[in-house]
């Protein structure tokens, strides 16, 4: 990283002459603890947002069409760096988004989460649900600099793999590292009336419009965060392969479906990272989209 030994020695000499050496890189932003949620109406909105975020299907069933919750992919209630934390997203909006080809507000971005990732219905702008989620996100971002690109934002993208992502290799990774929790059929597992391990494909998972349907996003999420509690343990190749695998299964239809799979692919999935409209094991993905 630094280069020659002489350069490093010079740098050290200068730093020592100047004062204390800052050895570590700047610490990631830390959101406030839950115990610091204030009393009063704003705090109530924050608490409601937190509840919706962690238990989405129970809190706002009218907007949710599958078995996922926000905290499945935004780990630790949207707090965890490297797992698309809310505090980093909050300060990045309003922003232009290629997906919508428009400058979107944070609330509009949240609508997309419900429409695609939750395979549900977008809560109306100004609804209690969106206000609560905004309050929670804004509170988590207390003190964060506006419009800064904060360390820990999103999912850190792993380098491109040495070999092109492969379904068969991904199936092996899945069987050995993922099926224990997510099931051999990708349907997840339930217990005590709750979904414990989320479904990764099929009728109860995110639909074809969701960001996790992009193999690059899935590879980044998996590499940094999976298996749960052991993020970073899979190789880059394994992460890309298993992302290829999980994003090559049927799931609910893209809400923007025009009536033609190939037309929808051309308009919204024209990327090497989307398997929508591609044929896998003799089936065109998106053609028989899981209900």
């Amino acid at each position: 990283m630094i280069g020659t030994r002489r350069f490093a020695a010079t740098l050290l000499a200068v730093a020592l002459a100047a004062g204390p050496v800052v050895a570590a890189p700047p610490a990631s932003f830390q959101p406030p603890p839950d115990s610091a949620i204030p009393a009063g109406p704003f705090g109530q909105a924050v608490r409601l947002g937190k509840t919706i975020f962690r238990d989405t299907g129970r809190a706002v069933p009218q907007y949710v069409g599958n078995d996922l919750r926000c905290s499945n992919c935004h780990i630790d209630g949207g707090r965890l760096a490297g797992a698309a934390p809310l505090w980093a997203a909050w300060v990045a909006f309003p922003a232009y988004r290629g997906k919508t080809k428009a400058v979107n507000t944070f609330a509009e971005r949240l609508q997309g989460c419900f429409r695609y990732s939750m395979n549900g219905t977008a809560p109306p702008l100004g609804s209690k649900t969106l206000i609560a989620l905004e309050a929670y996100s804004a509170w988590l971002a207390t003190g964060a600099p506006t419009r800064a690109h904060l360390a820990g934002r999103g999912y850190p993208r792993p380098p491109k793999p040495a070999q092109a992502p492969d379904y068969a290799r991904g199936a092996t990774v899945y069987r050995q590292h993922c099926a224990l929790c997510h099931g051999a059929d990708g349907a997840g597992q339930r217990a005590g009336g709750h979904v414990v391990f989320p479904p990764l494909w099929g009728a109860r998972s995110f639909n074809w419009g969701a960001g996790m349907g992009s193999i690059a996003n899935a590879a980044a999420f998996v590499k940094a965060n999976m298996p749960l509690g052991d993020g970073g343990s899979l190789s880059d190749q394994q992460a890309w392969d298993v992302a290829q695998f999980l994003d090559s299964h049927e799931r609910p239809q893209d809400p923007r479906f025009s009536g033609s799979v190939q037309e929808t692919r051309a308009k919204y999935h024209n990327s090497p990272y989307s398997m929508y409209g591609r044929s896998v094991n003799g089936q065109v993905l998106g053609a028989a989209a899981a209900k």
């Binding site: 780990i75 630790d76 209630g77 707090r79 965890l80 590292h177 224990l180 929790c181 597992q189 339930r190 217990a191 005590g192 009336g193 709750h194 414990v196 391990f197 298996p227 749960l228 509690g229 052991d230 993020g231």
Partner: protein, 221 residues
């Protein structure tokens, strides 16, 4: 996962025994006989683990009712091989063939699971935090993310925690940490155990023991 009452398991065991006598064929071991009467040098499992698999906290025998089949099988195999150290269970498991271990495990897996009580977090904030949130600064998930709400257990591989006594849970966390039992699939519990301080262990053990109530557990029908 197969579910059924202990009585059904016993009845099917009797029918199986009769059909073996009638047909003269070599059949799978009679799990109910093993569990309720013992076999060879292995005493009846139920004599310590209870006729409903409810366990016996006085002697440190955990409840097994409704636990995952893969998990129960793996524990018997680990006792038999000596990878999981326990002076009582090792000789018992060793006395059972793998087929007999499997049959006994099936009986307990098929018993109605114990229903946990939700635990009020106020009395044990550290336990509640670890159990329900984890500690993500060191990639420690919440226990319930794998063991289910209130530690009810999930599927065939993740055992229940509710209903275990605090000394038992603490003992197993120590065993995972010290390599006195294998770390489990994907090495999950080995990693978890190394991230828990003694205070953490005490708190989380108390939390799930409370989820089981004070020794009396309601059963799902």
């Amino acid at each position: 996962m197969a579910r059924g009452s202990a009585r059904c398991a016993l009845a099917s065991g009797v029918l199986l025994a009769l059909s073996i006598a009638a047909g003269g064929a070599v059949a799978a071991p009679d799990g109910a006989a093993i569990v309720f009467r013992g076999i060879g040098t292995a005493p009846a499992c139920a004599s310590c683990h209870g006729a409903q698999g409810q366990g016996n906290s006085a002697i440190g025998a955990p409840p097994l009712a409704g636990d995952g089949l893969a998990y129960l099988r793996e524990q018997l195999a680990n006792f038999a091989s000596g990878q999981r150290l326990n002076p009582i269970m090792q000789p018992i498991a060793h006395a059972l063939s793998p087929a007999q271990q499997d049959a006994a495990a099936q009986v307990f897996a098929g018993m109605p699971a114990l229903v946990p009580h939700p635990v009020a977090p106020e009395g044990n904030p550290l336990g509640a935090r670890l159990a329900e949130r984890g500690r993500w600064s060191e990639q420690l998930p919440a226990c319930t993310q794998c063991h289910g709400p209130d530690g009810v257990g999930v599927g065939t591989a993740f055992p229940h925690l509710a209903g275990l006594t605090a000394p038992y849970i603490a003992g197993q966390l120590a065993a995972f940490r010290d390599g006195k039992r294998p770390p489990g699939p994907l090495g999950l519990m080995g990693r978890v155990a190394h991230k828990l301080s003694p205070a953490d262990v005490a708190a989380v053990s108390a939390y799930f023991a409370a989820a089981g109530g004070a020794g009396t557990l309601e059963k799902t029908p």
